[in-house]
């Protein structure tokens, strides 16, 4: 049977539909009107992912239960977990951190790497466990990666240091540069704006640490090193800091309560 010949009637419904779409777009961009819808989407996606992970875990634990070395495997697992916490604490040189301030490793359930590489929203979702903090910073085995930003029904939303909406107070000991470094939107890069006149040759390669202001990050945690310096308008200097930690390396992260 031949196709029906297309008959074009009126442009008006299309124009009205375009205007309707533009109105929704304006409302969402300007007033975040559809944020509840977005939250539902995130929660259901995380719930599904978490369910799949649990299902996978239960298959593995069934296999372990049939194994003769059940006790040994469980002990090995718990020792590995404790060791990873201790190594993260030691590596980060967080002298004030007590083991009670560190949660057990949280599994990453959703990390949109497309967004991480292409765009400015660098967010990560991790599972909750028995010992969870609603406020604090986040490390993986490579270092400081971000902080907790939202508490969802079944997950925590983490904002990475490189997210455009993130700010972290950092400083450099040698040149006494203090600034609120902003996320650049590019992977592993933050921008520190400083009014202090510094020599480009000297600042490049200098390490930056957390200054401890703001009440979220402990003092003197390594953040990154300066890789470039640009003189901006109004006598400000923009120092690009490459973050030491890489959020892509680990499947689990550690949440720390600020001390």
């Amino acid at each position: 049977m031949a196709n029906e010949t297309p008959r074009f009637n009126s442009r008006l419904p299309y124009v009205v539909a375009c205007l309707f779409g533009l109105t929704l777009f304006f409302l969402d961009i300007t007033y975040q009107t559809f944020d509840p819808l977005d939250r539902i989407k995130i929660s259901s996606k995380n719930f599904l992912q978490s369910g799949l992970n649990n299902l996978k875990d239960s298959f593995v634990s069934v296999q372990i239960n049939f194994s003769e070395k059940k006790l040994l495997i469980n002990e090995n697992k718990s020792l590995k977990e404790e060791l990873s916490i201790l190594s993260v604490v030691a590596q980060q040189d967080i002298f004030n951190t007590r083991p009670s301030d560190v949660s057990a490793p949280h599994r990453i359930i959703n990390f949109d790497t497309d967004q991480y590489f292409c765009c400015s929203n660098h967010r990560m979702f991790v599972e909750k466990n028995e010992k969870s903090y609603q406020k604090g910073f986040v490390l993986n085995t490579t270092g400081l990666i971000g902080q907790i930003i939202k508490d969802h029904p079944n997950s925590f939303e983490l904002i990475l240091l490189s997210d455009v909406d993130h700010k972290i107070p950092i400083y450099n000991k040698d040149y006494e540069i203090y600034c609120n470094a902003e996320g650049s939107g590019f992977e592993r890069l933050i921008i520190c704006k400083s009014s202090k006149d510094v020599d480009k040759e000297l600042i490049i390669g200098q390490e930056f640490h957390t200054s401890g202001f703001g009440g979220i990050f402990n003092k003197d945690m390594p953040v990154g090193k300066a890789i470039s310096l640009i003189k901006a308008e109004d006598n400000e200097y923009l120092i690009s800091v490459e973050i030491f930690a890489n959020p892509l390396t680990d499947e689990k992260v550690f949440l720390f309560k600020p001390t």
């Binding site: 196709n3 074009f8 442009r11 124009v15 304006f26 590489f117 292409c118 765009c119």
Partner: protein, 158 residues
């Protein structure tokens, strides 16, 4: 539209959104992205203009907005706009060669991608990336066109 036609169109759209999320990656400083959702949507409007009209354009645009990372309304307005253009030139498109169709649909797909980055992630707006989207979209139109034609003949009219 019958239930069967609705299922065929919407399942192909969901498949396209999944493909878009799977087939994007970074190579060096260039981010490769695809816009299968628009290519498949425009194929449907082009192939069955009498079925995909304004209401379907709104619904498909909303579905893409909901399942992708864009603000609500972005794809609704652009899909309605391109649906209007495709409907208005429906007869002209019938005379186009495959290459001409690929250039038109590839260009409009990259135009949507460019607007997406301009409004949502202006820091990442790059002419090199847009140029690569354009070339990729033109090339991808051919498999989309022939694949979707086969899919339509098998499921849409069955």
């Amino acid at each position: 539209m019958s239930i069967r036609e609705i299922i065929t169109v919407y399942s192909s759209m969901i498949f396209a959104i999944i493909l878009d999320s799977l087939l994007s990656f970074k190579l060096g400083s260039v981010f490769f992205d695809t816009n299968f959702s628009y290519l498949i949507f425009s194929y449907w409007v082009f192939a069955v203009p009498e079925k995909i009209r304004v209401s379907q354009s709104i619904l498909i645009g909303f579905l893409v907005d909901l399942l992708s990372n864009s603000a609500i309304g972005f794809h609704i307005s652009l899909y309605c706009l391109f649906s209007l253009i495709i409907h208005a030139y429906a007869y002209t498109f019938r005379l186009f060669s495959y290459l001409q169709l690929a250039i038109f649909f590839g260009t409009s797909a990259s135009f949507i991608s460019a607007l997406f980055y301009l409004f949502h992630h202006p820091l990442h707006y790059s002419y090199l990336d847009i140029f690569i989207y354009w070339i990729t979209s033109i090339i991808l139109w051919f498999p989309v066109y022939f694949g979707m034609r086969r899919f339509r003949q098998k499921f849409f009219y069955a």
